[in-house]
Symmetry: C2
Subunit: 215 residues, 2 copies
């Protein structure tokens, strides 16, 4: 696994440490580890004991069934934090989607981080529960719309959105096949809701329509 270390990097304004991450301001700054595209950050069953803040890049958190079916439970973008566990072992896999830099905060035996971690855990819990509604009760168009709206919001509400992940990743996040994801993108394009600039970046033409679709 490719991973080495460097110093702090400047981030665009909307990627600056958020109110959530601000909770970690009191913690001594850690060096940055690099992960190239597709490399594992941790695996299910591995011993846990750290959490991770993304400096740049994107990460997918997922689980597998025995026959290879995969469910991505979350994407994490620059500025976000992930990796804390209820147990002493990881219950999920974490992989870099693209070249990614993460700050690793090791949990030392003595120090109590619960005050910093609780708001992050609660935010994650709310997000997961909201995603349950999407997977349990929304159809393909609504799922993709909800995903795009979420990506827009997390990238500062700009018209143009970068999708760091493949169609396969999007499908495995939304509980759909790549074909269905592709067909929905085409449908949104034909209806003038979005415009595909290239495979990984789209322009939102009708934000309101998208918003309504994703509820």
């Amino acid at each position: 696994m490719y991973a080495h270390t460097t110093s702090k990097i400047a981030l665009p304004s909307h990627l600056q440490p958020s109110s959530l991450s601000a909770a970690l301001d009191s913690v001594p700054l850690q060096p940055v580890s690099f992960f190239s595209a597709g490399t594992e950050i941790y695996a299910q069953g591995e011993k846990a004991g750290a959490f991770y803040q993304i400096e740049f890049g994107a990460v997918r958190i997922y689980r597998l069934l025995a026959d290879g079916r995969r469910q991505i439970s979350a994407f994490h973008l620059a500025g976000e934090t992930f990796g804390f566990e209820a147990d002493t072992t990881h219950h999920f896999f974490a992989e870099a989607i693209n070249a990614t830099g993460v700050r690793v905060f090791r949990l030392t035996a003595g120090a109590d981080m619960s005050r910093q971690l609780l708001p992050l855990a609660l935010k994650g819990l709310t997000r997961a529960q909201e995603h349950l509604l999407v997977l349990g009760r929304q159809n393909a168009i609504e799922r993709v719309a909800a995903f795009l709206v979420d990506m827009v919001e997390r990238q500062g509400g700009l018209r143009q959105v970068e999708l760091p992940m493949s169609r396969m990743d999007i499908g495995d996040y939304l509980g759909l096949t790549i074909e269905t994801v592709s067909r929905v993108f085409t449908r949104l394009k034909d209806n003038g809701v979005i415009r595909l600039l290239n495979l990984r970046s789209i322009e939102i033409l009708k934000q309101d329509v998208l918003q309504d679709m994703g509820e």
Copy 2:
């Protein structure tokens, strides 16, 4: 809303405060509030600021879409804790499924409960993320099997399982219709995997088969 107060009640052994709840041992014991079947404990949008431990009964946590579609994100049984929020407002609804007694722990401005709440939040996060796999990637039989296995485990691994909730609730938890839930129960019955003692209690005849189905 029907809710009044009484003193502590004895619980069967497998419903005794678990290791999780044990974290609350240091907190002064609160009186018990009663909620009759179908009554609201809190609503989405309401001001949060407490958490709840179930003495007896069962609770559903859910969200609604504008057109009435409902997704139950979690069931909580006796001994379990719920209701903490990332925000100062509730993002979900909580309702008593049956006659239910809950101990309400109000979060006071000064006291810091993060040490007690973090493990509960992390456990909830793991459960929610595992449920995402069920909703995103498993078919109807697998979903019901996973649900039954979960209920068995939470009721101490006994052969006989009580289902405090209706088929509608199960459907809204598993992202299925009541008809599909009913058909799957019938299929499991016909295959000799379970036996329906009555509508709300089933006997597990082939635990291993069920386990494999739910992955």
